[in-house]
Symmetry: D3
Subunit: 162 residues, 6 copies
């Protein structure tokens, strides 16, 4: 029956995972995306940050870094956005820790993101939920990390751990 199939089709885009289903050390890797001059211009226009570090090629050429560098907020937003290919209806974002930008992104760099499941722990303050740390690393074509953060998820527990 079509309706049933359609529902099943839709569910395929979701991947339901309870707290107990997360396994430390599992790695998920996204497709790559080349960061373009367009992304620089769009991000400046989206956020209102037109600082010359991102927008003025002439001035950058006189600086130690030599060329325009991506906004950190863009590297974070696109790095995280690359992972938005499957939804876990049992989880939601609690926050992010230790957000860092160890290396710059320049126009023409191609980035992808790797998520490694880190620490998992029941949340004593939230009965029925556990905390899962997704170590989120965005890397560029030469393997260098351009964004690191720890994404903290709150995930429903399958069983009563009380």
């Amino acid at each position: 029956m079509e309706t049933t199939n359609a529902t099943r089709g839709r569910k395929r885009l979701e991947k339901e995972q309870f707290f107990e289903d997360y396994e430390t050390g599992t790695v998920r890797r996204t497709f790559g995306r080349t960061i373009t001059e367009t992304d620089f211009v769009v991000h400046a226009g989206h956020t209102g940050d037109f600082f010359p570090h991102h927008m003025d090629a002439e001035w950058c050429a006189t600086q130690p870094f030599g060329q325009r560098i991506a906004h950190g907020t863009m590297t974070f937003a696109i790095g995280v956005g690359l992972t938005a290919t499957q939804i876990n209806p049992r989880a939601f974002t609690y926050g992010y820790e230790r957000l860092r930008f160890p290396n710059p992104v320049h126009i023409g760099d191609t980035i992808h993101t790797e998520i490694t499941i880190g620490e998992t722990a029941l949340d004593p303050k939230r009965k029925g939920y556990g905390k899962v740390v997704e170590i989120t690393e965005t890397k560029k074509q030469d393997g260098k990390t351009v964004m690191y953060c720890e994404h903290i998820l709150l995930v429903e527990t399958k069983e009563d751990h009380a």
Copy 2:
């Protein structure tokens, strides 16, 4: 080992299907997306089509259709774009047939797309490939079809059908 996991993670975004794996009648349904005034403006700017049917609310109010209607090219592009959540590395697009827009999309309508596998047939002209028809229907919140087309795929065959 991480590399192995990462590769496996990436493969999860792909869903390899040979010609023989397509089964007529299977349905896949995408998530929904609300079409906004922004989409109208972006599409006009992207294509250069600023016809008043899409852009002039005052004039539309004097017409039988009463309000701005989406560009057909946008309904097609977003309707097809909604399905871009998994890649089959064994298939590529041959073309589209019978593209129709049975009902208009207005600002605020929410659309999703349903793909039903239609006819499948070996391609006598292309050894090693078969043709698969994906009946592609984009519908809005009231169930009415706003875009219909037949997406023709060429898909590698698993076995030698010579």
Copy 3:
């Protein structure tokens, strides 16, 4: 008198053509437009299709096609959009047939569209209308066709053909 002139000015942007006014073989050619990396990024963002064929320069360099290729939906939308310079208030779109992408569009290609009036026929099911086929070909700077489709118009007849 200004009002009259203004109305006449506006009408100049319209080109009223009844079914009988279409002449098979007439060709209309649009201005050219260079397809930029920006268009690739805008189209991905507009449709949600971030497949690496369009977005990942590093991966494309390892593939037979060697570089990013435009979304088919973009070549169609911009190819058709280029023709949106005059409105015929007596015609509307019935649909498109045989949409094909014989050659890829790469960043930096310059495209234009040629419309040739093809078959015209009264529509037995719709009294007062005839069908007109606009053979729509988008070509790039080297003359190769990058998009082909048959745009089917329904056009009011001037006379009663009953």
Copy 4:
């Protein structure tokens, strides 16, 4: 022959006019376009002008003008852009005079532009050219002028006026 037709088709988008062809008092009126919240956001992002007069609905509500008002630069750019439907290969822009914004544009207003040919005069300093003033008025749905300027064209003369 196709090439000939195609060339003719292309020429239809151009309207060649020499200095002598401009007639004072002629009026040309564009199609209308509804200015949307999207246009406000796009213009802020395009120019970097995020002043609260254009972007902060809460603050605007406390001011005499009561709601967000369009950037003058946007009203000018879109008002002029609306006229870009035909090219005169014999003319180019010399500049603009007396640019004014007599009434504000708000989100949801529908504007069109009327061009009236004003003064025309041979240019004593540029042999072979004359100056043509295009009085350019952008109006909104209630008839009020939201942008006024005098667009000065330099246009080739057909004959030798020396």
Copy 5:
């Protein structure tokens, strides 16, 4: 106290200047911004002006100017937008005079804007206001002026000049 500090913080973004505070000859210079192909495409899409002078690299290569040239409306909008870093709550725009584009902007040029306070005069028709001319020059990396205009401000007077 926080509220007080916050208010003071906000006020720092404003720079209150009465008519009497403007001093002829004062110069203000903005940061630079590299004009990208993205800006060309965004401006065409924002205004609807897709003329080949701005959009068709192949055709431009056959013309005396050799490459795509920025829309004048864009050079004006971005040139003025660069100055939008401080608000004077005592002033508003009356209009612009003598808008000129002495040299073209090409893709990759880096522009900045210099504002020089020109003539200041009490406005006999508007008691309590004076007119201030801001000579606005946008220049590119080689020092050439790409946009010139005179921005006319109406500014409140501090004292009663009646």
Copy 6:
């Protein structure tokens, strides 16, 4: 002399602050900005995250949160972007800690950001630099915090603290 003035003008956009100049408890407050449906659509397109929580008004209406909610990455990027009005050439970003989204941003909310200087400490590992914590809170019109994070700056010291 003009050059001198121009340089001075440019410097006004910079606000040089050494480590010793930061004073715990100082508050800086930005202008406000209304978050529009356009921002939602632009952010989805910029990052590729088209999850229905941000994009599907119909589905959201069936959920406890009732309406579309902003991407956390957007609230962060715009919240931080609002502060990009003055450059301190002596400081650069080390990273962000404790990024949280205590309340959702909906279409139509108006946000501003308040930065409070928190802890300051010499950096034992980086001679010549100190760490400054900017407590960054983005709030909406009802005063509720929608984004909280601690922005860690590395700032040059004026004096030798060895």
